[in-house]
Amino acid sequence: MQEKAFDIKTAARRVWRGYKAFLLFTPFIMTLPLWAERLGKAISLNIVYLMRMVGTFTLVAVGLNLLMGYAGQASLGHGAFMGIGAYTSAILATRWGWPAWIGILLGTLVAAAVGYLVAPILRLRGHYLAMATLGLGIVAYIFFREMIALTEGNVGIREIPKLNFLGMVISSRNGEFYFVWIIAIIVLLMCQNLVRSRVGRAIRAFHQSEVAARVMGVNVPSYKMKVFVLSAALGGLAGGIYSHFQGYINPSQFDVMLSIQLVVMVVVGGMESIWGSVAGASLVVFLPSVVEALPKWLGNVPAWVRQYSNYEGLVFGAILVLTMIFLPKGITTSTVDFFHRKIRKAAALMGEESTDSPPRGE
């Protein structure tokens, strides 16, 4: 076959087909601060402020999704990696005055290193792995609480300096927003390329059947370890950024409830879905603020509705169970599937076959 000359049209079409979601989402998020301020005022939500938290949690959720959704390895202790990243960066910044971005990088590395050290638990399967990771999350929490010389224990670390990057201080809300979302877009892009690559096919293969994957020559333990370390690193990265956003951290921010919230993000957003992590993170971050804003939208609401933190676990528990029963693929994949079915049906009615099938694993 003859080599085709470079054709700008075909190339553009290929980029569009492969990265449709990115080409739509990136302009949306990059222009968000321009219009969200006024919209936010109208509906009593501080959208930019919340979206920068969504960006932070997207980083860790997408990592956990690679591990849980794609590779099928449950982790109920991922909050620990966020904690490790957060504490590393916070300690370096407050004790030694290190610039935040170096602290965040080191926090990412430390989280990855801890992930590498505990990776032997990936030999466990299913329920055993889930319980062991839950246990490691508890151990991490106990260490945050008890290593007082390093972490200040329950008192927590105060006055963590604002973000800065190469000497540039980032303290405005919009600055923080762009900082985290530029990183998040890059990470999302990397993760999507990863799951579409040979590695992605390999990890999905052993999700289906470990034995079959091994027979096909996939080095399952090595891939498991690598995915786990990658997701730990992303947890550390998110934790480091989080600590500089918050300015204050204590052990209870990184307890089992955080790990379960991360699982909620992955499961509800959609396992085996890169964009599901964004949707899940948005849901978990926006929910409390939406409930808080309810009185302003509806006028009167019962007093107990406003005390969201009291029944947060009730909501998350119910959401987890109901999602597993009714929408096991999560909201993103289910919505996309729904529209694809509609489109196909419409196309069939018009008497033509739709050939536009979505690429797997997005």
Binding site: P120, I138, M257, N310, L314, A318, M324, P328
Partner: protein, 298 residues
């Protein structure tokens, strides 16, 4: 070091007490695992709710203990039944990850619900009989004797139930092969319901005899320690739970005592002992201390 050895008898007695709790918790885990292949992450919540309900019945409503205790345990058993019907039944045969997420969801739902009803940090659950025994180097409450007696009673009744009744035979059949069991006319769904209710009963009992104080958060640690005990005894082996429970209870007390008295490390690390034990056993002897090797069917 000398301090540690002079305290040792006390550690052992304390460990015996918490060991009983872990035995009951571990039996719950094993019963459910054996008959459904599921590990119930909400098992710890059964214990917390058992203790808190007992507080409400005995202290708030002023019922006498012989009435309040069976009522609380029965109520928790009922919660177990509802949990099985509402969460486990719809998710059956959908894989381990689904079951894990389902029971985790149930667990935080129950915990958060308990927090709304019992928001305080500590509720005093009455002891069955007052009184303290002081021996040289060792002292313990009368409650310890109740724990030992009740645990013994429960182990014996579970033994009889599993080996001498039709229900027990059904449960064991489901454990060996659910499909074959259903072919010979055993209703696997009912067996799963029975296992969850019984596990909830055991959990509720464990909770209410365990602590002088209860709160909505206590389930997490009781759950993970009970699970450790179940794994040490060989998960699914209802009697292995006895060995596992005592091992966890005694080791935890002795190691924590050694760390704090001999090495001067904060006793806040005590709860980490069981987890470290859990991970090491899972990695090096996943079949339990006495079990045979695991064979996985493909």
């Amino acid at each position: 070091m000398a301090d540690f050895f002079s305290n040792l008898p006390q550690y052992l007695v304390n460990g015996l007490g918490s060991g009983c709790i872990y035995i009951l918790m571990a039996m719950g885990f094993s019963l459910i695992y054996a008959s459904t292949g599921i590990i119930n992450f909400a098992q710890g919540e059964f214990a917390a709710i058992g203790a808190l309900v007992a507080y409400t019945f005995a202290v708030k409503l002023g019922l006498s203990l012989p009435l309040a205790v069976p009522l609380s345990v029965a109520l928790v058993g009922f919660i177990g039944l509802v949990l099985e019907r509402s969460v486990i039944l719809p998710l059956r045969e959908k894989g381990a990850l689904t079951a894990i997420i389902g029971t985790i969801g149930a667990s935080i739902f129950l915990k958060s619900g308990a927090r709304i009803i019992w928001p305080e940090e500590a509720y005093k659950v009455p002891e069955f009989t007052q009184g303290q025994f002081n021996l040289p180097k060792v002292s313990f409450n009368a409650q310890l004797l109740w724990m030992l007696g009740l645990t013994f009673l429960v182990v014996v009744s579970v033994y009889v139930l599993m080996n001498r009744t039709k229900l027990g035979k059904g449960l064991r059949a489901c454990a060996i092969n659910p499909e074959a069991a259903s072919l010979v006319g055993i209703n696997v769904s009912v067996m799963s319901m029975a296992a969850f209710s019984m596990a909830a009963l055991l959990g509720g009992l464990a909770g209410l005899v365990s602590a002088p104080f209860a709160n909505y958060r206590m389930g997490l640690y009781l759950g993970i320690k009970g699970f450790t005990a179940a794994v040490i005894g060989g998960l699914g082996d209802v009697y292995g739970a006895v060995l596992g429970g005592l091992t966890v209870g005694l080791l935890e007390e002795v190691v924590a005592g050694f760390l704090s008295v001999a090495l001067g490390i904060s006793s806040g690390y005590k709860d980490a002992v069981a987890v470290v034990l859990l991970v090491s056993v899972l990695l090096f002897r996943p079949q339990g201390l006495v079990g045979r090797g695991l064979v996985e069917k493909v």
